[in-house]
Symmetry: C2
Subunit: 300 residues, 2 copies
Amino acid sequence: MKREAEVTGARFERAAIIGVGLIGGSFALALKAAKACGQVVGVGRGRANLDAAVALGAIDVAESDVAQAARGADLVLVATPVAQFARVFQALAPVLSPAALVIDAGSTKRDVIATARANLGARIAQFVPAHPIAGAEHSGVAAAKADLFRGKRVVLAPLPENTAESVVRATAAWRACGARVAQMAPEEHDAVFAAVSHLPHLLAFALVHELAQRPNSAQLFSYAAGGFRDFTRIASSHPEMWRDICVANRDEMLVELARYGAQLESIRALLAAGDAAGLEDVFARARAARNRWLDGEYDF
Amino acid sequence: MKREAEVTGARFERAAIIGVGLIGGSFALALKAAKACGQVVGVGRGRANLDAAVALGAIDVAESDVAQAARGADLVLVATPVAQFARVFQALAPVLSPAALVIDAGSTKRDVIATARANLGARIAQFVPAHPIAGAEHSGVAAAKADLFRGKRVVLAPLPENTAESVVRATAAWRACGARVAQMAPEEHDAVFAAVSHLPHLLAFALVHELAQRPNSAQLFSYAAGGFRDFTRIASSHPEMWRDICVANRDEMLVELARYGAQLESIRALLAAGDAAGLEDVFARARAARNRWLDGEYDF
């Protein structure tokens, strides 16, 4: 395990995890498993949650104050809901050591970067934005696990102000968790994830909400089966987190909704016309594309 | 195992499986496991598939001719694609024994019943329509398993012509497979499944097809993760089967698409207005409804 930390180059003496939930807790467990860090200090909203994090071995010390936790840390992960980032960055700015690396785990990047610029002040060059493509519909540290990021993508969206060394250190931290690290511009990141993540969440929430409002919703749900369960799994995601993502990535999501609406309209027209061959063609193309994806044709 | 067959009352001497794929093969394996039938004769399109069915123990005898298979059978399961039902019923009508029970496994019921009426002639009273709520995105007898229907719903949509005894026998056959059997009117069946099954399939096909057509589709797919995988699992379903379902249940699916479109438009309006509280409310209601469903609140 020592060897892995050396290979990846990640070694931190004191990590501060701001927001010890599924992501923050898993990150801490992964760093510890890789022997890539010494002490871990965790900040969270609830005492019970922090006690659970200590019991799980994710954090060594529970702290209620962001500034207190970050003082002396050489790595700070901001993993609270994005709506709290401004307050967290404000607390960090005056206490960050010049050698400290700050990373985040927000699902959107343009808004997080704007918030960091507005609140980190002279420390902005120390912040290397990141989005780990991992998670689950379950939240909270109880769902955390050391291998949550293993084999998963982490997208870094570096700032022009970042030094090469800070990007290398951020890459090493995520690699120590087992992640495959890529880089994208923030705009590109937000557009890509609006299409492959944010839109599907909206579509799943919409379906369940629509059915739940009907007078015969109990009957409908009673006949829903495995296909429905998987299609709507992401509709069990955290409402507050998805509210924040929608607000942050509104423009790209509106673009995606419009594209999807046009696609749905063209399928509706095929259906209304009873165009069996046209429908089969759409379904066959979709299945073929998905199967290529499952076969790893788009991996890199 | 003998005891189970006695409890459920299902006992057939010779079963003919017309269409030995996932559903037909699993039904045959389940009946055999329950010792609820003697010989099983299977009819299928491909010799290789039928040989595989014999090797798996799903069928005892492979037959290429529907009439030949059905002659002397006291149970006939029609499990071909629905588009072939007319031809199958035509072949069955002249050779069915007066004591034979005919059941099907079609995902839609109004069209199947109309097809049966048009082609089974005087034998219509022997046909008890059914829809087993089980399946997978995989097809073919290789995916068949004896417990596919265990604990799953089967909806019977009996005809006015059915005798009480024939409905009891059909119920017993599906119960022997481990299924929970319910009854619905054909119109109600088609409306319910348009909402909880057919619409989600259309939505998943539409998303994958839309993304696959873009110039940057390779990049988009390369960042798709677990949420996308589950949301789109049903887009790997069989194009021919879903073409037939769309054509058969077109009117109900158009109704469902319109309802969903209205829901999506109301969410789009919240998004465009930046109504964070409104979005969170929709997401929270959807999550709560789905979680009640997962908790079994709508089971019966």
